[in-house]
């Protein structure tokens, strides 16, 4: 059965390529097979098989750097919050 175009599914397929190195390796090893396994339509499969492999790797690397930076920021905020929580807990306990 032919798959119908589904823009949300195509975005999810691209997102996985950007963040998941295993999915990326599998795709670069067998582009058509990966697209079919994801249930992409004929047109969607045609659009992804021509993806620029070098640009994909650079983009994935850039996303990874951004995620690491964001995780650091979230951890820093959590430390700030816990400091404040301790401060208020102590203050209210007086």
């Amino acid at each position: 059965m032919r798959a119908e175009p589904n823009p949300a599914r195509l975005e999810a397929f691209l997102a996985r390529l950007y963040v998941d190195s295993d999915a990326r390796s599998a795709f670069l090893g067998d582009r058509v097979g990966s697209a079919n396994a994801a249930g992409l339509s004929d047109a969607e499969r045609e659009s992804v098989v021509g993806l620029d492999a070098a640009a994909l790797e650079l983009a994935a690397c850039s996303f990874s750097h951004k995620r690491v930076a964001m995780q650091r920021l979230v951890a820093q905020r959590a430390r700030q919050r816990s400091w404040f929580q301790r401060f208020w807990t102590r203050l209210l306990a007086r």
Binding site: P7, E11, L14, A15, V19, D20, S47, S62, K66, R77
Partner: protein, 297 residues
């Protein structure tokens, strides 16, 4: 130099590393942009500090995590946080990117250019309707940089951005380094792109820097891709685009310099703000000259 005769404004994106410099040089900074997402879990004192800042300089708010440009609906919890922040800070205006940042259960952690299709135009317009209802106003919409030409695209970028901006009547935040980078990466003319946008809807402009990446391209040939990293000085080509925009746009422009790291001495950032003012002034002078010539002719 601070004031531009045209009423255009030039300012800086707020980062905690730049706080001291911004406070010390408010006379050289017309406006400050703050990242909403940086304040979602912030202690109350940090949010209150923004109110103090807002008494000294106009503030605008910039979002990075909404994921407006998608066939899927925006995250309601994220949207509610944006709404709370915007309503608390009461900025002059706020903005978000024409990007998707999550899909299904996957969080990208940053901005990805979506397929430029009728489906993502429809999805973005639907998302903007929901955002307007919850926040009470539409964000200015920012074009994003990409290393990849998004698969599934049916339209070129200028057509896609124009369709969304025209369809939503929302203002456009034109990031000139994103435009420059995409023009370099995908081989189109940045000037032609600029000419095709609904220029009268541009309210905010971002300028920033980036770097070149070598991308192996097989056959022993390397090619370069432009990365928008906000870690380098604004290139001359971006100031040239700013001049061209100031020539084309009849309305007041707000120009924001973005810098996210590798911070230089603050004097260098002030020099970049002055370069931006000079570029705007050149564009406005050309515009005045052109109008005079048209009236005389």
């Amino acid at each position: 130099m601070r004031q531009l005769n045209s009423g255009d404004r030039v300012g800086l994106s707020w980062r905690s590393e730049l706080a001291a410099g911004i406070w010390q040089h408010l006379e050289s900074i017309d406006i400050v942009e703050v990242i909403a997402d940086d304040y979602f879990d912030a202690p109350l004192r940090r949010v209150r500090a923004l109110s103090t800042l807002a008494t000294q300089v106009p503030l605008i708010v910039h979002g990075i995590g909404l994921g407006l440009a998608s066939a899927s609906a925006v995250s309601e919890p994220h949207l509610n946080r944006i709404a709370r922040f915007v309503n608390r800070v009461q900025p002059e205006s706020w903005s978000e990117h024409l990007a998707f940042v999550r899909a299904g259960s996957i969080e990208l952690g940053h901005l990805a250019a979506p397929p430029r299709s009728a489906a993502t135009i429809a999805g973005t317009l639907a998302n903007l309707g929901r955002v307007r209802a919850v926040v009470g106003s539409a964000p200015a919409l920012e074009n994003v940089a990409s290393l990849l030409d998004p698969p599934g695209s049916e339209l070129d970028e200028a057509s896609w951005v124009s369709a969304i901006v025209s369809g939503s009547k929302a203002p456009l935040l034109l990031d000139l380094h994103n435009l420059y980078s995409n023009a370099q990466n995908f081989g189109f003319s940045a000037a032609e792109y600029l000419a095709r946008l609904p220029v009268e809807q541009i309210s905010i402009v971002h300028v920033a820097g980036g770097t070149w990446l070598d991308a192996p391209n097989g056959a022993n040939q390397a090619r370069r891709l432009r990365l928008d990293d906000h870690l380098h000085a604004v290139p001359g080509a971006v100031f040239s685009l700013l001049e061209e925009l100031a020539f084309r746009a009849p309305q007041r422009l707000t120009v924001i310099l973005e810098r996210d790291g590798a911070y230089p001495p603050f004097s260098e950032l002030l020099a970049e703000l002055n370069h931006a003012r000079e570029a705007v002034a050149r564009g406005r002078a050309r515009r005045s000259e052109s109008e005079r010539a048209r009236r005389a002719g």
